[in-house]
């Protein structure tokens, strides 16, 4: 008996729902577990106390960690649209992330725009930028593309660092003082910012999932598998790769904007190769070609960076680089990728056995 409607939906999605509930409750749980009771006036009680606790001590810090993970997860998912779903190796993804930060930064700080208007303009800028970069770099393939995208990213990195524009970009000091509207301030109202980041993350996750499951997404996967064959079926592969690149670029730019608001500023380092390596590491650790993989990867890499930094201080960047190399060597398909491949093969074997049993043939089961 096939269940239909809501029960089926529930049955299929319960793990996601559990995770979602946990994520929504996280600030309050963190507040109860790690908040600093001394920092909250005793007269505040009940729900109000839990809320206030969440804004104190380590609870606030860990909310910040999770916010950063949400932002990085979106960034990593956007990269995976290219690498994992379309098979395009871009080494310039930091360019979009940095653009997000710098565009809202310039508009909010120097033009005095509101955060919302700045993000609106950013959407347009990111669209144009990714269209142009895509139109140029997608003319070449494979390692050429990797090289060309890296060059484009370095172009923006050099400009951000150049002393010529110090009065706007702050050159190598970065652009500081990018404030979101006061009621969303990440310093005063971290829990609110947490929910902003959560909603942003969920929206982006659903959007990305819809894209990869759309007719367009199917063509992207076909291009990854065998681009020449996809073209022989009648698909203009350039257009689909461009769609993937634009979607990835806009998503990364939005993540970059939120990152700038959370950190109240940007530095040229968001445009550097290190940022691209971070996102590459997240995608590969989690598993390219899945959406949950990069999310998991973002969480792991961010935590790893935090712990390495605490344990080894300055040297952590070097250790992170070495860890990255080890991960690529020993986990080429990532965590989710490896698990999926296993369970998938398993399912295929059982499906075949079931078919044979149903057909009533007396085949010996493959052992």
């Amino acid at each position: 008996m096939e269940k239909t409607g809501f029960p089926l939906w529930l049955r299929r999605h319960w793990p996601g729902l559990v995770i979602l509930t946990l994520m929504s409750l996280f600030p309050f749980l963190a507040g109860l577990a790690m908040g600093d009771p001394a920092a909250v006036p005793p007269e505040i009680q009940g729900v109000g106390r839990v809320l206030a606790l969440a804004e104190t001590g380590r609870a606030k810090f860990w909310q910040g960690m999770v916010i950063q993970m949400f932002i990085l997860a979106v960034f990593a998912m956007s990269y995976d649209l290219l690498l994992g779903y379309t098979g395009v190796i871009s080494f310039g993804h930091a360019m979009f992330f940095g653009t997000g930060g710098y565009v809202v930064g310039l508009l909010v700080k120097h033009a005095g725009w509101s955060a919302g208007a700045a993000v609106g303009v950013l959407l347009l800028v990111a669209l144009l930028q990714s269209l142009m970069v895509g139109a140029l770099s997608l003319r070449v393939k494979g390692v050429y593309l990797a090289m060309v995208t890296l060059a484009f990213a370095e172009f923006f990195y050099i400009l951000a660092e150049a002393t010529d524009f110090r009065q706007y970009t702050g050159a190598d000091d970065g652009l500081h003082g990018i404030y979101p509207p006061p009621f969303l301030s990440p310093t005063d109202h971290r829990t609110r910012f947490y929910f902003l980041a959560l909603v942003f993350f969920l929206t982006m996750y659903l959007a990305a999932r819809r894209l990869v499951n759309s007719p367009t997404g199917r063509v992207m996967v076909a291009i990854r598998e065998n681009e020449a064959r996809a073209a022989m079926l009648g698909y203009n592969t350039f257009v689909y790769k461009l769609v993937a690149l634009v979607a990835a670029g806009v998503m990364a730019a939005l993540a970059g904007a939120l990152n700038a608001f959370f950190n109240l500023g940007v530095t040229p380092s968001v445009l550097s190769v290190a940022t691209t390596i971070d996102v590459l590491a997240m995608t590969i650790v989690g598993g390219a070609g899945t959406l949950t993989g990069p999310v998991l990867g973002a969480a792991i890499v961010h935590l790893l960076g935090y712990w390495l930094n605490r344990l080894f201080g300055q040297t952590w960047v070097l250790l992170f680089g070495v860890t990255f190399i080890l991960i690529v060597v020993f986990l080429p398909y990532g965590i989710v990728g490896t698990v999926q491949a296993r369970s998938w093969r398993w399912r295929a074997v059982w499906r075949e056995r079931w078919r044979r049993i149903k057909e009533g043939r007396k085949f010996p089961l493959p052992s």
């Binding site: 759309s214 598998e225 769609v243 295929a348």
Partner: protein, 251 residues
């Protein structure tokens, strides 16, 4: 009444570093016919297919589809104009299942491939069409197996299914029986025959297996060293002395 010419090449020529692979081939394929191209290995048959389907640009000459010049168009545009092609060497999406692959091919025919906001399941027509074609080529029951896990013969069938799902009116079949077990070949020839009778499609076929060719074709062109050696009905060709010498053998 003279049947219409669907596909035509005019003095088509291809050189690779000075080596002439296809030398001034002028070919006319009539609507609804099954036109076979035979010839020894290296005669330029596959190169000819590559030129027609846009995989390679010709050095000189023209390709016309229903009188319109399609020379030098990129492969995807040629495919969209109704020329579908199968490959001699298996050329599939290794990690996609049979159903996913065929659905992609069916979707290629529609105009909804850039609808990135909708779930692909919403367009049932592609899936239904894919399932029908999977059934037609004899792959029913294997919808959820990825292409790389299929036995060779089934991969050939999937190749044909991909081709059919794009709904072309001109089919270029490059050695569809290559590497198939002898027992499976009749199924495939049946399929090709049905395709032609049902859909009124035009088929251009490269094949080595002479009995398949003699059985199916309306017209045969013999190529040798990049040139057309002879053309005619199966009876004419098997009687032609030059063909005997160059290809069929003198034993």
């Amino acid at each position: 009444m003279e049947p219409r010419i669907v596909l035509e090449t005019r003095n088509l020529r291809k050189e690779f570093n000075g080596l002439v692979a296809v030398a001034d081939v002028s070919l006319q394929v009539r609507e609804g016919e099954l036109h076979a191209i035979i010839g020894p290995n290296g005669a330029g048959k596959t190169t000819l297919f590559n030129l027609i389907s846009g995989v390679l640009p010709p050095t000189a000459g023209k390709v016309l589809l229903r009188g319109r010049d399609i020379t030098g168009l990129p492969p995807h545009q040629i495919a969209r104009r109704g020329i579908g092609r199968s490959f001699q060497i298996t050329n599939l999406f290794p990690n996609l299942t049979v159903l996913e692959s065929v659905r992609l091919a069916a979707q290629a025919r529609g105009r909804r491939s850039l609808y990135f906001w909708a779930h692909y399941r919403r367009y049932r027509e592609y899936e239904e069409r894919a399932l029908a074609i999977i059934h037609q080529v004899g792959l029913a029951g294997r919808e959820h197996i990825p292409a790389r896990a299929l036995p060779h013969g089934d991969q050939r069938k999937l190749e044909i299914a991909l081709l059919l799902a794009t709904g072309p009116d001109v089919l270029l079949l490059d050695e569809p029986t290559a590497g198939m077990a002898a027992g499976e070949i009749p199924l495939l020839t049946d399929l090709i025959r049905r395709l032609r009778e049902e859909g009124g499609r035009t088929i251009l076929l490269v094949e080595h297996k002479m009995d398949v060719v003699m059985n199916l074709s309306d017209r045969i062109t013999v190529m040798h060293q990049g040139r057309i050696l002879a053309e005619g009905t199966p009876a004419e060709i098997s009687a032609d002395e030059r063909v005997q010498r160059a290809y069929l053998g003198e034993l």
